[in-house]
């Protein structure tokens, strides 16, 4: 079938030469370029995280501390710059573009059975906006790294002497990159679905990306204007956000969180999409309650817009707003809960194969549950007043963003690696590292819940000695994680050269991308494929000679 007939021509070999990559309009190549850049940024952000953890080994600061000669508080400045850059890089350069930009770009059109995204040229622009944004953001490292925290709160961000503008402008460009991607995906899903691919036959990863795209379209422009105004504030003191000129500091926080809260759903929703794919494939089951899972993505996206105020409970936000936002925030928990329960039910009576991606998915259950549940004390008003801006918050969002979104990003990379590169990675190493990550992650971030509840404020370069042992645990965990990530990088790279050729369908996946060869041909499908139910595994048989799963067209269930 298709898979075998075209092994000679795939999107990697379709055309050669550096310019065939730089100017490519092929969504797959753009996806790959995204993947590489995002991973580079991830490494960078990780290194900054390590520096943070090293500093916090000692109560008085291991790297940056006062000395006999230099008592000035400016000694802490490098630390403030480091955690700011860590946050900005991880959020704007890794989490937000990561899954949609890299995996989404590569997989989405194939999953739909389309030849490309709706606007290939815009897609390329989106990538280059990302690159420029990245360069601007990182240029600040040279120009005097920004030290405002990734939230750029005024009036401090207006006063500090560090290079705020370059980073903010970088984030501004990254915003456009994100908008273009979202716009592209929405149009693609509306207009480029082939006959037979109805809305409720779309794989859930597409639904996740659709919900994400909605947020990218509706929220990101507000970030753009916010950052633009911040730049003007620094240049001309417009005064809108600066009390010294009659403006309101709180207004900036409203502007900022109107984007940045929905943004956390930009990060987690696609991860949930990958979760659905992986769970379905490796337990050979249709996703339980497909429509509920699909709709809960949309619900999360929409409700997510009404809850930004929970970042501002003690910040001087008015009581009525506090109450409204608290009430709406607890509601967001529901769609996420629905997803988790449906995934659990999907495992029931499945045929569960513990391949690496599946391990990541199971890890997601574990850490997303913790991350999600610890969101409750932050949504409920009295408990928020104790946990706000402490390490409890730090732990909470690392469990959701890192343990949730990033783990599924890594899981997704493993899941589609054979499809993207046409190579298989070392399975046992993959499993080992995943487990290692899981343990080390909890060692790193669980102590931070306790730190926070005992009052350890976030963004502090030094702390009172009674917190030390928890910080040490956390640092140890961080180092193990770093090591594990390096190993992962190593065996993935190794697989590129030594890995054995990947079959069209190594996992027994039922969605369309597994029906075209690995790596896929330039046009994905020569003739538009017949579309069945997304998670129908009937007739998928392990084929010894291709070492992949195969099935006869006629075994597709074409209507449920």
């Amino acid at each position: 079938m298709i898979a075998k007939s075209q092994d000679n021509d795939n999107y990697l070999t379709h055309s050669r030469g550096i310019s065939s990559w730089i100017f490519t309009l092929d969504h797959k190549r753009i996806g790959v370029m995204y993947l590489i850049s995002v991973l580079v940024a991830f490494l960078l952000g990780g290194l900054f995280a390590m520096l943070i953890r090293v500093q916090l080994l000692a109560p008085t600061g291991l790297l940056f501390h006062k000395t006999e000669v230099l008592k000035d508080l400016v000694v802490y400045k490098p630390y403030n710059q480091i955690f700011t850059v860590h946050g900005a890089v991880m959020i704007f350069l890794v989490l937000i573009p990561g899954i949609p930009g890299a995996l989404g770009n590569f997989v989405l059109p194939i999953m739909l059975g389309a030849k490309d995204v709706a606007f290939p040229r815009l897609n390329l622009w989106s990538y280059y906006f990302y690159v420029c944004g990245m360069l601007f953001a990182l240029s600040s490292l040279v120009l005097g790294a920004v030290d405002t925290g990734w939230t750029f709160y005024t009036p401090y961000s207006v006063q500090t002497s560090t290079a705020v503008i370059s980073v903010v402008f970088g984030a501004f460009l990254l915003g456009f990159s994100s908008i273009f991607t979202g716009l592209n995906f929405i149009v693609t899903m509306h207009k480029l679905r082939p006959r037979g691919m109805t809305w409720f036959r779309m794989p859930l990863f597409c639904w996740g990306l659709y919900a994400t795209a909605l947020i990218q379209i509706l929220a990101t422009p507000v970030l753009a204007i916010t950052l633009l105004l911040l730049i003007l504030e620094r240049l001309f003191h417009l005064g809108i956000f600066d009390p010294a000129y009659g403006g309101s500091a709180l207004l900036f926080q409203h502007f900022f969180w109107f984007y940045s809260h929905p943004a956390v759903y930009i990060m987690i929703l696609p991860a949930m999409g990958i979760m659905s794919e992986v769970i379905a494939t490796f337990s050979r089951r249709e996703i339980f309650g497909y429509r509920f899972v699909a709709m809960s993505s949309i619900a999360i996206a929409l409700i997510g817009f009404f809850v930004w105020g929970h970042h501002m409970f003690p910040n001087g936000q008015s009581a009525p707003a506090n109450v409204i936002f608290s009430g709406l925030t607890v509601l967001v928990a529901i769609p996420s809960a629905i997803k988790v329960f449906n995934w659990l039910a999907t495992l029931y009576k499945g045929s569960i194969d513990l391949k690496t991606p599946m391990l990541y998915a199971l890890g997601f259950f574990f850490m997303f549950s913790i991350g999600g549940l610890t969101g409750l004390p932050l949504a409920i008003l009295p408990t928020n007043f104790n946990a706000h801006d402490t390490y409890f918050v730090v732990a909470h969002f690392h469990y959701v963003m890192f343990g949730g979104a990033l783990f599924m990003f890594i899981g997704g990379i493993h899941y589609w690696w054979p499809k993207i590169t046409g190579r298989m990675y070392n399975e046992s190493l993959g499993r080992l590292c995943c487990l290692l990550e899981l343990l080390a992650f909890n060692l790193t971030f669980f102590p931070q819940f306790i730190l926070g509840l005992h009052g350890m404020p976030r963004r502090s370069a030094v702390y009172s000695p009674e917190f030390q042992y928890l910080h040490v645990l956390s640092t140890i965990g961080a180092f193990i994680q770093m090591a594990a990530f390096l190993v992962i990088g190593a065996y993935l790279l190794h697989s590129l050269f030594r890995g054995k050729k990947a079959p069209a369908n190594p996992w027994g996946g039922s969605t369309l991308e597994w029906r075209c060869s690995s790596p896929p041909p330039h046009d994905n499908f020569k003739e538009t494929p017949t579309v069945g139910m997304p998670y129908d595994h009937h007739g998928l048989k392990w084929d010894e000679e291709t070492e992949g799963f195969e099935r006869k067209e006629k075994e597709l269930v074409l209507h449920a």
Partner: protein, 289 residues
Amino acid sequence: MTQLTIPQSPHEHPEHLAHHFESLQQQYDSGKLGIWLFLTTEILMFSGLFCGYAVLRSLHPEIFLYAHRYLSVELGALNTVVLIFSSFTMAWGVRAAQLGQTKLLVRLLTITLVCAFVFLGVKFVEYKNKWEENLLPGKFYHPEEPPPGGEFLKLRGTDSQSVKNDKPADVKPQVTAGAVGERSTIAPAAIGPTGLSEPWLEGKHHGRQSWSGPEPDNVQLFFGIYFAMTGLHGVHVIGGMIVIAWLIGKARKGVFGPDHFAPVDFVGLYWHLVDLVWIFLFPLLYLIS
């Protein structure tokens, strides 16, 4: 399908059909949906400025009542008419493109472009005046003259209650200091909306909408928001002019016709949005009370 073999760019292909689309209709609908989504993002982007405007105006009405008199309603109105007319010619241009009336299309687009130039010209005159009178945002705001219309008691600085103390002119050195070193010495802002001096409070009680007191605090806020809003809008006008110029070039070659007028249509939509924004900016900035 023949499309599989054609080069990527829609514009070199006779049927203007990109390889990944099935039909012209599908391609057109995709483009239309795309441009509407893009307009959505534009609106949300401007909404930030409108939000800032709304909050500041509701907190410091006196600033707006006082400062809007610095603006010239005549020029604002003129620009409104110019933009509306350009919108009209643009809409007509789309019609011309749909009917393949190439010459007419080129003419209409040219008129639209000229209107845009006129608009920018008027804006330039306005900005120039503001610049000369130092009616600028933040620390650059220190006009010599009170605004025309309504007799203003020139009490600046004489009563301790209002004005001078955190006038930007005074804050400036401190703020820059804060920026250089890490410690800032900005005086704490007054309780309540800054500088609600007596005349205003009375005025408020009588629901009076005009401001006849001394200059209120933080008038520079008005010019901050004024330049931000009109400036961003101006940038969009310039962007529009570039694409319209590009359209004219294409139209001269006669590439637009009944089955390929999408570019004209989409640029048109964008241009109408620019017009829409101005339709709101005009009353909000020029016609206060």
